[in-house]
Symmetry: C2
Subunit: 160 residues, 2 copies
């Protein structure tokens, strides 16, 4: 799973390719070529190079969380029980293994980590918090905050 083979110089056309594909990943090479102002063949070569360099990553379909019963977002600040290498590695492996934890950042400041958890409802989150998260030996304190609404949520990184 090694990526980032070789730093590929990203020029203006590459950036336009990235900008288009991260909005619509289903574009054909022909359509993409038209939008970025290059030939289909050149476009195809660039896409392959960007993939090989690890700049262009997975193609994914987005699913409406509410439609599959995961409409509640909870942001959870968390401290680990100790800051040894082992405990942190154990916690991070745990985080990666739990599908309801979508995002996890190691933070500077008062808390060690910030998690985003999706749940069906408050009771569902309570079960996860008490039954799973706080049960894990690596976890110290946690402070949960419910999102009232998701004002914005995008996967598109600003390019340019």
């Amino acid at each position: 799973m090694q990526r980032k083979k070789h730093l590929h110089r990203i020029d203006a056309i590459d950036r336009r390719i990235l900008a288009e594909l991260q909005i619509d990943g289903g574009l054909s090479h022909a359509d993409l070529a038209e939008r970025v102002g290059a030939s289909a063949a050149s476009c195809w070569r660039r896409v392959k190079a960007l993939e090989a360099a690890g700049v262009l990553q997975a193609t994914v379909r987005l699913v409406d969380p509410a439609a599959v019963g995961r409409g509640v977002n909870v942001l959870c600040n968390l401290r680990v029980r100790s800051h040894t290498r082992e405990v942190r590695a154990s916690f991070e492996a745990f985080v990666r293994s739990r599908p309801e934890i979508l995002d996890c950042y190691s933070m500077s400041g008062d808390w060690d980590y910030l998690l985003r958890v999706v749940a069906a409802d408050v009771a569902d989150y309570e079960r996860f918090l008490m039954g799973t998260l706080l049960e894990h030996p690596s976890v110290g304190a946690a402070s949960s905050h419910f999102a009232l609404a998701q004002v914005k949520h995008t996967t598109a990184i600003p390019i340019g």
Copy 2:
């Protein structure tokens, strides 16, 4: 931009389709059919229905933020200057208009919003904070925390 036309009953095969497509959105209908244990035609109809219902949303390509100079994540707690409808609407429109703000949640608790901002480095974020965010008339206080690492970041909602 109306979605969610009609609540479509999602059965086990639909869930498997969603689970597969949110991991690999580039799957052909034939491959998808094989993985979920249905025929290609049936699979195709289900995908169309899920799209029409708004359950299956955009196909996007993920881009490595660091490769395009956006490797720093900042989580920013924020209060608006007042809680009137107008001020909140103004703030939320502002948030949606700024491409470096990837996520924004309206929160319960001490702060009104939580933002995730991607920046090139600390100085770049400082410019955004002082020059753009805090300059906006709707914004009151803000408290920024830098992510030391992105331990986990996925777009895949748990299905099932």
